[in-house]
Amino acid sequence: MPYISYDKKEISFKIVYYGPGMSGKTTNLMYIHNSLAENLRGELVSLDTEEERTLFFDFFPLELGQIAGYDVKFNLYTIPGQIYYEASRKLMLEGADGVVFVADSNPLRFDRNITSYEMMLDNLASYHIDAEQFPIVLQYNKRDFPDAIERGSLEKVLEIQVPSLEAVATSGEGVMETIRTISKMIIEGFEL
């Protein structure tokens, strides 16, 4: 549920980038941050380890603009993908309005994508979110891998149907399309 203040005239949505370790979540966020006009974006905060692995989260707020006198904002977060950060990962999903699942197209990481997606479903369920009614976009990242996994293969195993996109986050390919898709899904499902 978005945060709405009738009084401050503000509506903010939370978008979370979820996925296994090293799949490219932080890279997505950094690319978006770099692409936005300066007046629209707040500072990017990264809580990471010395090896630049996300420890808790990356975050930045962005101003969509004014609509009917309301300041509409998106708060973008990534989660730490590494297995042992499960507790912090779950926390970041609290209050989320939509999720981008960043999958790693490296065939060696196929199973990690599956495990991570299943964890995400568990995490969502713990907040009483019905994943089937919830905005989720599946991004097949690292499409530059020569033997990248087939698009659609994760959905098959997971028995899910969600919109999917291909991306190479390091070059920015597909990154803006992804954020556009999830934002639109969130807005479409929003009731004032």
Binding site: I67, K184, L192
Partner: protein, 181 residues
């Protein structure tokens, strides 16, 4: 989540607290990490980032609390060389951050934060009650004897129609999220 902290009622409490304890900065933030109200020096500190980080810190602490059999630690104190931070849970959804310099004032900070917290809870509770009344009135039109004035005004000037909102928002999304070429 809906915000029950009406700014015009909350701001005086926060700025009053600021006058009383003379800290560097005070922020009232939501559990999601948005700033509800702020007072003191808010220029030299990135309050948006601070709110997001503190909210994260607090939720992490809540999990740690559970591990040792506590529901939540209601106060977090971070002691630095020159500056210190006192963070207290106001309601389940909101917390107050006080950045101050003179550590000898900690007792006062604690007491005054608690007092202000109680007043903030009262405000939130009152708003919530109004909301419940309004929702009740909406569902039971025949019994709505005392329609709330405040609620009326808010609906009149604050209302946006959903289809219109969506159209504008979708438009902005297309404009903003473009790949630079």
């Amino acid at each position: 989540m809906k915000d029950y902290f009406i700014k015009e009622k909350v701001d005086p409490i926060i700025s009053g607290l600021c006058r009383d304890i003379k800290p560097i900065t005070i922020l009232l933030i939501t559990k999601q990490g948005t700033v509800i109200s702020e007072a003191g020096d808010t220029k030299s500190i990135n309050t948006t980032a601070m709110a997001a980080l503190t909210a994260g810190m607090f939720s992490a602490t809540r999990e740690v609390a559970k591990m040792v059999g506590e529901q939540q630690f209601s106060i977090l104190l971070q002691q630095g060389e020159k500056r210190h931070i006192h963070i207290s849970l106001v309601t389940e959804d909101a917390m107050m951050i006080i950045v101050f310099e003179d550590y000898r004032r900690i007792g006062m900070v604690r007491v005054e934060a608690k007092k202000a917290g109680t007043r903030l809870i009262d405000i939130a509770m009152a708003e919530k009650a109004k909301d419940t009344d309004a929702a009740f009135a909406a569902h039971h039109p025949s019994t709505s004897t005392n329609t709330n004035e405040n609620q009326d005004a808010r609906n009149k000037d604050g209302k946006i129609s959903t289809p219109e909102f969506k159209e504008y928002a979708l438009n902005l999304i297309d404009q903003i999220f473009v790949t630079k070429t």
